[in-house]
């Protein structure tokens, strides 16, 4: 099935077996191996990418379902030469050990901040009708779909807080 997906700003047309997941299309067909395959069942979050600005598990989505969509992967956020500020915050706060979950963590963090910006409630909120705050409890709850087996969670929280503070100050 012919499918055109805008990946990191560039339209890419692929002829795909309908079984191809978005993750496999990115990794195997487009050779964008930043997005990782951990569990391949939507439980670990290593494959998290942004689709039309929202975070999803790329392993639980068929590529053909994304014809016309805009996908952003870790490669689209930053490059080794020009890191995204969230990537820099992860480095500064030492927010990983092995790094396997990190691209998913960073994409998820970007999506998560968008959800907070949009005022979407979470389980951690005391008052779900109020505008959510970027508290540690909120970050931990909202990032709970991204597992880190090295347990870098405290530093991941610090990195996200650092990014939010610095970006808030830069505005």
């Amino acid at each position: 099935v012919e499918t055109t997906i805008t990946v990191n700003g560039e339209p890419r047309t692929l002829d795909l077996d309908p079984r191809t997941t978005l993750l496999d299309a990115l990794r195997e067909h487009l050779r964008l191996t930043g997005s990782k395959k951990g569990c391949d069942h939507g439980q670990c979050g290593a494959c998290t990418v942004l689709v039309n600005g929202l975070r999803i598990n790329a392993c639980l989505s068929l590529a053909v379902m994304h014809d016309g969509d805009e996908v952003v992967t870790i490669e689209g956020l930053g490059t080794p030469e020009k890191l995204h500020p969230m990537q820099q915050a992860f480095l500064t706060e030492d927010a990983f050990q092995c790094g396997y979950c990190t691209p998913g963590q960073i994409c998820s963090a970007m999506g998560m901040l968008g959800e907070i910006e949009a005022g979407l409630p979470s389980h951690a909120a005391g008052d779900v009708a109020a505008k959510p705050a970027l508290s540690e409890a909120e970050i931990r709850e909202r990032m709970s779909g991204n597992i880190c087996r090295c347990s870098a969670y405290p530093q991941i929280v610090e990195a996200i807080k650092r990014y939010a503070t610095e970006e808030g100050a830069a505005r």
Binding site: V1, D17, P18, R19, T21, D40, H41, G42, N57, L60, S61, L62, V64, M65, D67, E115, A118, G119, L120, P121, S122, H123, A124, A125, G126, D127, V128, A129
Partner: protein
């Protein structure tokens, strides 16, 4: 995963028609449940009808003061709706988020209105 054919439904009518006519056809919207089961070959559809872009995601007020939630409205969208959120504060689970349990929340909302 077993092979299958795929189509994107143009409108609800053609989606229903395709589902009735094609043996082994299943609807797919997001894929979170179905794809997981297809990978394990618990689900083995011969044909997938993608209903993900059908315009059925609206949350509308009904004349009797309730809400009509479209079949394609996501849980998070329902939970984040300003009309749903105050209702989710009511009842015994004061701290429970609508994102976790949208259905009881909506039922409570309905009861509160009756």
């Amino acid at each position: 995963m077993k092979p299958f054919t795929y189509e994107r439904a143009a409108d609800p009518e053609s989606a229903v028609k395709a589902a009735a006519e094609i043996p082994g056809a299943r609807f797919i919207a997001g894929g979170t449940n179905l794809l997981d089961l297809m990978k394990l070959e618990i689900e083995r559809p011969a044909h997938l009808i993608d209903v993900g872009r059908l315009p059925l995601a609206t949350i509308d007020d009904t004349p009797d003061g309730g809400l009509r939630i479209g079949a394609m409205a996501t849980n998070s969208r329902v939970a984040g709706d300003p009309r749903v959120r105050p209702a989710s504060q009511q009842g015994v689970h004061g701290r429970q988020s609508a994102a976790t349990h949208p259905l009881p929340v909506l039922l409570r909302h309905q009861q509160a209105l009756q």
